[in-house]
C-alpha cells in the first residue's frame, strides 16, 4: 500500500485536480449569483453522492433510502438550533450520531436477517417512507407544516452559526466536498476499502477468506449515513426550511444517487463529475426552455431519466471511467 495516499494518482491527474480546485476556489469571484447557487447545488450533490457511493460503490449495498439520513441530519441540526440555540457545527455532531445510529439499526436488522440485494434496497425505501410519514405527523417537529430557521442576515457572514451569504455557503460546501473526496480516497485505499471491494465483488468468497462481512457492511452503512447527515445539516441551514414531504421523499433519494451512477459507481471522481453533468446540464436545459418562454414542470426529471437511460445503455460503468481513459488518467489494473 502506498504511504503517500495521493501517490497512486498519476502526476497529470494531480495537476488536473489542482487546476480544478483552483478554478473552484476562484469561481465565486467571477460568477454571478445564479451561477453561484448552481455551483452550491452541484457541490451538495457531489458530497451526498460521495457518501452514497461508500455504501453502493465501495461495499456493494444498494440503498434507495438515503433521504432518511439527509432528513435526520437536517432535522436534528435545525431543531437544536431553533429550540436550544445550539450552533450547526455542534448540532452536526449530534446529527451524525443520530443518522449513524439509524443506519446502524437498519443495517443490523437487514444484515442479521439476511436481507440482501433488491430486498435490501426496498427495505431502505420502506424506512425512509416510514420516516417521511412519521415526521409528517409529529407536531413538535413542525409536522407537515414544516420547520423554519430564522432567515439569514446577509449583512455579515457568521461561519459559526452558518448564517450569511451564498458565497460563504459555497466555500463551506467546497471544503466539505474536498474533505469527502480525501476521506473516500483514504477509505478506498485502506484495508477496510479492500475488504469492501471484496464484499462487493463476491460476498461468499470474501467471507470464506475470513472477512467479517457483517462488520464491514455495517461500517459502510454507518460511515455513509453519518456523512449524509452532514449534508442534511447543510441543507437545513442553506434552505432555512424543512418539510417532511420534501426532505424524506423517495425522489430525493433517487436524485442524490443520480450523480454517482452517471459519473461512475465505485469511482472517486464519479460522484463529482456526475453532479456537474446532472445539475449543470439540467440547469442549462431549464434555461433553454425558459428562453423560449416555456415553463415545463416535469422537464428536468424527464431529462434526468433520459440521462440515466443513456448512461446505463451506452456507458454502463459511468462517464468518469470513460473520461479517465480519454485523459490518460486510468490506473493500470493491478
Amino acid at each position: 500500500m502506498p504511504r503517500n495516499p495521493l501517490a497512486v494518482l498519476p502526476r497529470r491527474g494531480l495537476m488536473l485536480l489542482a487546476i480544478l480546485l483552483a478554478v473552484l476556489c476562484a469561481l465565486p469571484w467571477l460568477a454571478g449569483d445564479y451561477v453561484l447557487t448552481v455551483l452550491i447545488t452541484i457541490l451538495y450533490f457531489a458530497f451526498v453522492g460521495q457518501a452514497w457511493n461508500i455504501m453502493m460503490g465501495f461495499a456493494g449495498q444498494l440503498s434507495l433510502g438515503h433521504a432518511i439520513y439527509v432528513g435526520l441530519g437536517a432535522y436534528t441540526a435545525a431543531l437544536l438550533y431553533v429550540h436550544f440555540g445550539i450552533g450547526p457545527w455542534i448540532g452536526m455532531l449530534a446529527a451524525i450520531a443520530i443518522a449513524a445510529a439509524c443506519g446502524a439499526a437498519i443495517g443490523f436488522l437487514a444484515f442479521r436477517f439476511g436481507v440482501a440485494g433488491v430486498y435490501f434496497a426496498i427495505l431502505t425505501i420502506a424506512f425512509a417512507e416510514f420516516a417521511r410519514i412519521g415526521f409528517d405527523h409529529l407536531g413538535f417537529l413542525g409536522g407537515s407544516g414544516g420547520l423554519f430557521l430564522p432567515v439569514a442576515n446577509y449583512a455579515r457572514n457568521d461561519i459559526w452559526n452558518l448564517r450569511g451569504s451564498p458565497m460563504m455557503f459555497y466555500y463551506v460546501m467546497l471544503v466539505l466536498t474536498a474533505a469527502a473526496l480525501v476521506l473516500c480516497h483514504l477509505l478506498l485505499e485502506s484495508r477496510t476499502g479492500y475488504y469492501w471491494r471484496a464484499i462487493r465483488e463476491d460476498e461468499e468468497a470474501a467471507r470464506s477468506l475470513g472477512i467479517d462481512t457483517f462488520r464491514y457492511k455495517m461500517l459502510a452503512v454507518v460511515i455513509s449515513a453519518g456523512m449524509t447527515a452532514i449534508a442534511g445539516m447543510f441543507f437545513a441551514f442553506y434552505y432555512n426550511n424543512l418539510f417532511p414531504e420534501q426532505v424524506f421523499h423517495v425522489s430525493r433519494s433517487i436524485e442524490l444517487i443520480l450523480g454517482p451512477i452517471i459519473g461512475g459507481i465505485g469511482t472517486l471522481f464519479g460522484p463529482i463529475i456526475g453532479a456537474f453533468l446532472m445539475t449543470g446540464l439540467s440547469e442549462l436545459m431549464q434555461n433553454l426552455l425558459a428562453s423560449f418562454g416555456l415553463d415545463v414542470p416535469g422537464a428536468r426529471q424527464v431529462f434526468y431519466g433520459a440521462c440515466l437511460l443513456g448512461v446505463v445503455l451506452l456507458l454502463p460503468d459511468g462517464v468518469w471511467p470513460w473520461m479517465a481513459a480519454r485523459l490518460g488518467l486510468s490506473r493500470p489494473r493491478a
Binding site: F130, G134, I254, G305
Partner: protein, 288 residues
C-alpha cells in the same frame, strides 16, 4: 359500533383484491424474468390516464376498458422486455434497477407534462350505488372492481396452470438453462411474461380509476405499494400476491379508521419491515 368495522374491513378487502391484481403483475415478472419492475406503478398510471381519457371523450366505462387496456399494456410490456430489458438480463441488479428507474422517471414526468398535476377521476352512473346486506353496506363500484380483478387473476392462474405456453413460461422460471436445452425461446417467453405482467397492471389501472383520483405522482406510490404487497405475500408467488393485496387493503382501511387516513401507509411500511425481517421469503413464498 362493530358494524362500522365490518363495513370498513369489507371495503378494504375489496380494494385489496384490485391491489392484488396489480401486484400479481409484479410478482409474475419477477418470478420468471427475475427483474424487479421498478416502473410498475408508473405503467399503471399510463393505463389509468388512458382509461380516464376514454371515459371523458368516448364515454367508455373503465370496467369495459379493462380488457383493451390489458391488451395495450401487454404490447407495451412485450416491447419493453424484447427491446430494452432482455439485453440487461445478465447485468448486475443495480444496472437493471437504474434502467427501470429511468423509465419510471420519464413516464411520471411525461404524464405530468401532458396531464398536469391536478387529480382526475371519472363519474360513473353507478358511483353512489350500494348493496345492503343487513347492516353491512357494500359499495357497488368496489364490488364490481374486485369481482373483475378476481376474474382476471383467475384467468392468469388458469393460463399458467393449463396452457402449453403458460407451462413453457413456468419452465423458464424453474430452470433457465434447462429451458434453453429443451429448445424454448427464452427471450420471447420473457417478453411474453413481461407483457402478461403489464397486462395485469393495465386491467388493474382501468379498474382503480373507479376507486381513486389519479395524479402522475401516484406512479411511484403504487410501485412501492406493489413491492410491499408482493414481498408480504412472497415475491414470485401468485397466490401470495393476492393474499398480500388483501392484507394491505385491510391494513390500510383499518389504520385509516383507527388512526388518521394520512398515516395509513405507515402501517403498510411497518408490515413490510416486519415481514422482511421475520419471514423474508414472504407469507406464501418459498425459501430461495
Amino acid at each position: 359500533m362493530a358494524a362500522i368495522y365490518v363495513n370498513v374491513a369489507v371495503s378494504g378487502l375489496l380494494t385489496g383484491l384490485v391491489y392484488g391484481l396489480m401486484a400479481l403483475g409484479l410478482s409474475v415478472i419477477f418470478g420468471v424474468v427475475r427483474v424487479v419492475n421498478f416502473a410498475h406503478g408508473e405503467m399503471m398510471t399510463i393505463a389509468m390516464y388512458v382509461a380516464i381519457v376514454a371515459f371523458n371523450t368516448l364515454g367508455l366505462d373503465p370496467l369495459v376498458m379493462a380488457v383493451p387496456l390489458a391488451a395495450v399494456l401487454f404490447a407495451l410490456g412485450y416491447a419493453l422486455q424484447a427491446g430494452l430489458i432482455n439485453p440487461f438480463i445478465n447485468r448486475p441488479e443495480h444496472s437493471q434497477f437504474i434502467l427501470l428507474v429511468a423509465l419510471a422517471l420519464i413516464i411520471v414526468n411525461v404524464l405530468l407534462i401532458v396531464f398536469g398535476p391536478d387529480a382526475r377521476n371519472v363519474q360513473t352512473s353507478y358511483a353512489f350505488d350500494s348493496f345492503a346486506l343487513g347492516s353491512l353496506i357494500v359499495d357497488a363500484t368496489k364490488l364490481y372492481a374486485a369481482a373483475l380483478s378476481l376474474v382476471i387473476a383467475a384467468l392468469l392462474f388458469a393460463f399458467f396452470r393449463f396452457a402449453p405456453l403458460g407451462k413453457a413460461i413456468r419452465a423458464c422460471a424453474d430452470n433457465y438453462t434447462g429451458a434453453l436445452v429443451v429448445g424454448l425461446d427464452v427471450k420471447r417467453l420473457y417478453a411474453l411474461t413481461f407483457g402478461l405482467g403489464a397486462a395485469c397492471v393495465g386491467a388493474a389501472g382501468a379498474v382503480l380509476v373507479l376507486l381513486i383520483d389519479v395524479t402522475p405522482a401516484l406512479g411511484p406510490a403504487y410501485t412501492l405499494l406493489a413491492f410491499i404487497i408482493v414481498i408480504t405475500g412472497g415475491l414470485g408467488s401468485m397466490p401470495g400476491a393476492l393474499l398480500g393485496g388483501v392484507l394491505i387493503g385491510l391494513t390500510e382501511a383499518l389504520a385509516g379508521l383507527l388512526f388518521t387516513p394520512s398515516a395509513k401507509s405507515m402501517f403498510s411500511f411497518g408490515l413490510l419491515v416486519l415481514v422482511l425481517l421475520f419471514r423474508p421469503q414472504g407469507l406464501l413464498g418459498k425459501r430461495a
